[in-house]
């Protein structure tokens, strides 16, 4: 594994159930607050907790972009406008030129809610979808990157990575490689996934949706709570004042099962080892691991074996008890929370644990605390056996 040239991260932001922007997230991490609530979404009354982002419904589309209107793109725009992120992208566009700035975003379900709603309004006579359904701008998996690229006036290469719940971790690797090869000078990376019926009923059908608030690492965990989120980072070729550094992006496959992780987390461990090796570090250099930690019985068990094998007793926690599982946005959300943790020198506690599962070995942290955090690893794993691990370094 060849070391990666560290890539400056010059701006980042996020919007989750905890709120919009870094300030609300820093505060929530310190307070140990969860954004999850037992409430319905749309017409869905399943017994579950959800992490809904405040203000998505009220978000208007930019002038001339009405065809893009759907929950996913509203959330994409709401997050883009937090922390002055949009202005920092425009400054990067000025600096490098629009053609030299790429857009690589992760999503799992794109604007599928728009299609789900359109299916309720099919023509009685011929079954057609309503005329106001815009496939390319809302349904297509690429739609969120098309929206962000057009809105920001960027002209570089762009695509969506859709590898389920690892999607928006992997985009950091796409951008770093293209910058290293000189194809681009900067990239907007991130992830956006919004609540919809497909994932709520889908995870329910797999019996992976917890009726209780999700409890990662708890002995009586019963599955995940779904959240929605948008999160972004701006990667640039060089910077005088970066917020953080991307040091490694390890990627692997399980090659085991479509919806269950490898029982010993072999693929996951390989992604972590590759990320650390790309960073030119050893596992002992990592100060905190932000776990995938979905709170499904199988995920936490397999991840525990992998993390224990690779990182030993390095402190770790899952932030999904606070945000819910934001699926295709989870990688970028947790990269942002990792960078925020380093900026604040605050190790986030894993919420909602009553009794740590005695079968799990990792050094799980239930309480947040001040800590010297220089290097953080963030795990993201998805259906189809897709694994990614990011290694990030703080600015100081």
């Amino acid at each position: 594994m060849t070391p990666m040239q560290p890539v400056p991260i010059t701006a980042y932001t996020l919007a989750t159930a905890l709120g919009v922007g870094r300030g609300m997230h820093a505060q929530a991490l310190r307070e140990g607050r969860s954004g999850l609530a037992a409430k319905p979404f749309e017409t869905v009354t399943l017994p579950t907790w959800i992490g809904e982002v405040p203000g998505v419904d009220a978000q208007a589309m930019p002038a001339g972009m009405d065809d893009f209107d759907c929950r996913n793109n509203r959330l994409a725009l709401l997050a883009l406008q937090a922390d002055g992120f949009e202005q920092q992208v425009l400054a990067a566009r000025e600096r490098w030129g629009a053609q030299r700035v790429g857009v690589f975003l992760g999503t799992s379900t794109s604007g599928i809610l728009q299609t789900e709603l359109a299916y309720r309004r099919r023509d009685d006579a011929n079954g057609a979808l309503p005329a106001d359904f815009h496939y390319a701008q809302t349904h297509n998996t690429y739609s969120v990157a098309a929206f962000v690229r057009q809105h920001l006036g960027l002209q570089g290469p762009a695509f969506v990575v859709s590898t389920a719940c690892s999607s928006s971790a992997k985009v950091f690797g796409n951008a770093a490689r293209m910058i290293a090869l000189g194809l681009i000078d900067a990239a907007v990376v991130g992830g956006v996934d919004s609540l919809c019926l497909t994932t709520l009923y889908g995870f329910h059908s797999l019996e992976l949706l917890s009726p209780d608030i999700c409890r990662p690492w708890d002995a009586e965990r019963h599955g995940l709570s779904l959240g929605e989120a948008g999160a972004y980072a701006l990667l640039e070729r060089d910077s005088a004042s970066p917020q953080a550094w991307l040091l490694g992006c390890g990627e692997s496959s399980d090659g085991h099962h479509m919806s269950s992780p490898h029982p010993e987390g072999l693929g996951a461990a390989q992604a972590m080892q590759d990320a650390v090796a790309q960073a030119g570090l050893t596992a002992q250099d990592i100060d905190y691991v932000n776990l995938h930690g979905t709170a499904t019985p199988n995920n936490d068990q397999a991840e525990d074996m992998a993390v224990s094998r690779v990182f030993g007793a390095v402190p770790c926690s899952s932030t999904k008890g606070a945000t819910g599982h934001t699926l295709g946005a989870a990688g970028a959300v947790e990269a942002a929370l990792s960078m925020l943790s380093m900026a604040q020198q605050w190790l986030p506690g894993g919420l909602n644990v009553r009794t740590i599962d005695p079968a799990l070995q990792a050094n799980y942290q239930c309480e947040g605390r001040a800590a010297a955090l220089r290097h953080v690893a963030s795990n993201s794993f998805g259906f189809g056996g897709s694994n990614a691990c990011l290694v990030l370094r703080g600015a100081v």
Binding site: Q99, G127, Y142, G202, S253, M258, S386
Partner: protein, 270 residues
Amino acid sequence: MSQAMSPSLNVFIDGVGLLGPGLPDWAQAAPLLAQGGWAFSDLQIPAPQRLPAAERRRAGAVVKLSIAVADQACADAGCDPAGLATVFSSSSGDGTNCHALCEVLASDDRLVSPTRFTNSVHNAPAGYWHIATHSRAPSTSLCAHDASFAAGLLEAAVQAVSLGRPVLLVAADVPYPEPLHSARPLPAAFGVALVLVPQATARSRAALSLSLGAAAAPDRCADAGLERLRSQVPAARSLPLMQALSCGPVGEVVLEHLPHCALQVTLAPL
């Protein structure tokens, strides 16, 4: 190209797979693309023998098509699939599965099938392929709407060069059923696969040089029928490249990419 081009990315093609209407595999397709004589005929997607029985039953058409062209390309390259990093690219994913989910979610009971939900992920072809090949190699799954083939080719070449290892690119699209078909009409299924390597091998059949530049009109197919395929199926946007590969291989091809951003590919024989 009017403006400054990006640095070029140089890779080699070691294996090719193709499956489309009237194009049953690369060996039979190459002379039709080089010399003419192509005619539309219905596409038969073979059952993926490589998949374990349980997964074979669950796999949708886009998975079967992806595995069929990936198998062709790996056999052509004479390489062990387990060692290949993979890039899967599709505009539409599994449209039949998507329709079935949306239909049940619009019904009163909303009883979603767990298999349908599992298969709804865009990376289903990648997941099934890595299960079938027992591969823990890195894999990604992309979408760029009509630019999905060019985006996949670019990323596969980037990975081959920066990771210094062979990469399997698979681009595949299958039509939606109604009512999504009317919103996104894809007239046929089409799949293409390439094994790209960073250094020429004894198997290499063409050198590719990729560069990004300002907007340029994509090359078209001279044959009207092939041009209809090219312009209507995202994976078939590869056809001008496949034609150049079958002729020589030599030529310069502009592939359909994104607004303000063209992908130019120069082919040369070894």
